[in-house]
């Protein structure tokens, strides 16, 4: 088996495992309101777009992460006028960003699992500076956006 194929299969395997985790989490959140039929099709569509975006990232020499390709592809597929847009929207509507987010943070939490000791190595100074940096980027962007939206008369 070529490296390309085995790589892709591995990525698909992980994506499918994660999708099942998302579906179960979704069921835990909303119970019997979940439309399994549409949710599974929606998840298959999401996984398909995800794997295509990984391949685009790997094929292009640009330093643009697969995440950006994933959003861009699904944006194009759901633009008004795109023939598949109503179908894609109807199916993916069953999956909510909230539950995907929950699974993401579960993975994120576990992935730093062996680095808890690093907390002790961090000085209180860098923790404070980082917090100020986070606040700076968030409100920096928000204030610029607010001013421009206001200048345009959109808000």
């Amino acid at each position: 088996m070529s490296k390309f194929v085995s790589n892709t299969l591995n990525q698909l395997k992980v994506l499918i495992l994660l999708s099942i985790a998302v579906l179960i989490t979704h069921y835990a959140a909303i119970g019997d309101k979940l439309n399994w039929h549409n949710a599974v099709i929606g998840m298959v569509i999401i996984v398909a777009i995800s794997i295509v975006s990984v391949k685009i990232k790997e094929a292009l020499p640009l330093k643009i992460p697969a995440f950006a390709w994933a959003s861009l592809l699904s944006l194009l597929l759901t633009v008004p006028g795109c023939p598949v847009a109503p179908y894609v929207l109807e199916m993916t509507k069953q999956i909510s960003t909230g539950e995907i987010g929950t699974v993401i943070l579960a993975v994120a939490g576990i992935s730093i699992g062996t680095r808890i000791d690093d907390i002790k190595k961090l000085s209180w100074k860098i923790v404070l500076v980082a917090v100020v940096v986070f606040i700076g980027t968030f409100f920096g962007s928000a204030i610029v956006a607010q001013l421009v939206l206001k200048a345009q008369g959109l808000i």
Binding site: T25, A28, A70, L75, L105, A108, G109, I110, G113, S141
Partner: protein, 286 residues
């Protein structure tokens, strides 16, 4: 935590090093943690004039920090069999992939809103420069705390993987600048998502429009964007779709421009600010 922004590596390549047992343990663990978070549910409580909304993913993140080899595994050594080094490594490698599911879903929120996004185009582009807010308030603060060249690395951006790569290429990872960038990077990994989920709900108090705040959520880190935008959505549920659309689009822009912004604008600005502040102080003292 390997983020979506890890552009130079292909971490998923090493996936072959894991057994079926690793994959299943990892899968069972994230499912249990996620379900537990959803069962705890969304809780909001008033703080001062506003409210803090804690969404399920925050509880999941806290639980998953506890159920790790380093914490729970030390108390109950048997737990390391379910979640040990290998499973942690598996999680690290899956991070990029799990974020893609969210990327796709957020794109589907953006597509139908395309006319609105185009109308807000100027704001979406210009708010990228708002990311320089990191150093505008971070640099003076770091210098006051006694940092020197570390401050340049620590405040040049929110220090995700691309910045880490850039700074270590220019200054070396063991340089003062490298130590600074590493510090902010680590704090972001450990507390970023939790911090931003609180900030996301509390930020509404600033009086800024939720659409402007949504654009601010897209800052180039998948997990922080998720946390900030989800708790903003939970706080202003009537604008859910718009928030999701603006956050997703802003995140695409930061992803695309991030590294180039860092190299061409942020780093020169940080060095300029450093000279400005430190130069002035040295003149005063000497």
């Amino acid at each position: 935590m390997s983020e979506n922004t890890k552009v130079n590596q292909a971490p998923e390549e090493s996936m072959t090093a894991f057994s079926v047992k690793n994959a299943l343990c990892f899968f069972v663990l994230i499912t249990l943690l996620s379900v537990a978070g959803e069962k705890i549910g969304t809780h909001s409580f008033p703080v001062g004039p506003g409210k803090i909304v804690l969404i399920p993913m925050v509880f999941t993140m806290i639980l998953s920090l506890i159920f790790t080899p380093d914490v729970f595994g030390r108390v109950v050594p048997a737990f390391k069999k379910l979640c040990g080094e290998k499973e942690v490594k598996y999680a690290e490698n899956s991070m990029m992939l799990v974020l893609l599911l969210l990327g796709v879903k957020m794109g589907t929120a953006a597509g139908p809103n395309l006319p609105k996004l185009i109308a807000a185009g100027p704001a979406l582009i210009l708010q990228e420069f708002g990311n320089l807010g990191t150093m505008l308030i971070g640099m003076p603060f770091a210098l006051l705390l006694g940092m020197r060249r570390e401050a340049v690395g620590a405040t040049v951006s929110i220090c995700r993987e691309p910045t880490l790569g850039l700074i270590s290429e220019i200054y070396g990872i063991n340089s003062p600048e490298g130590l600074g960038v590493m510090g902010t990077y680590m704090v972001g990994n450990l507390f970023g998502a939790i911090f931003f989920s609180v900030l996301g709900s509390f930020s509404v108090l600033s009086g800024l429009d939720p659409r402007a705040l949504a654009m601010a959520c897209g800052m180039g880190s998948g997990s922080m964007m998720t946390a900030a935008s989800q708790s903003l959505m939970a706080t202003v549920p009537e604008m859910k779709d718009e928030i999701s659309a603006f956050a997703a689009t802003s995140n695409i822009m930061t992803n695309v421009t991030g590294l180039y912004m860092d190299f061409l604008i942020a780093l020169p600005c940080a060095n300029f600010l450093y000279k400005l502040f430190v130069g002035r102080r040295e003149k005063k003292n000497g």
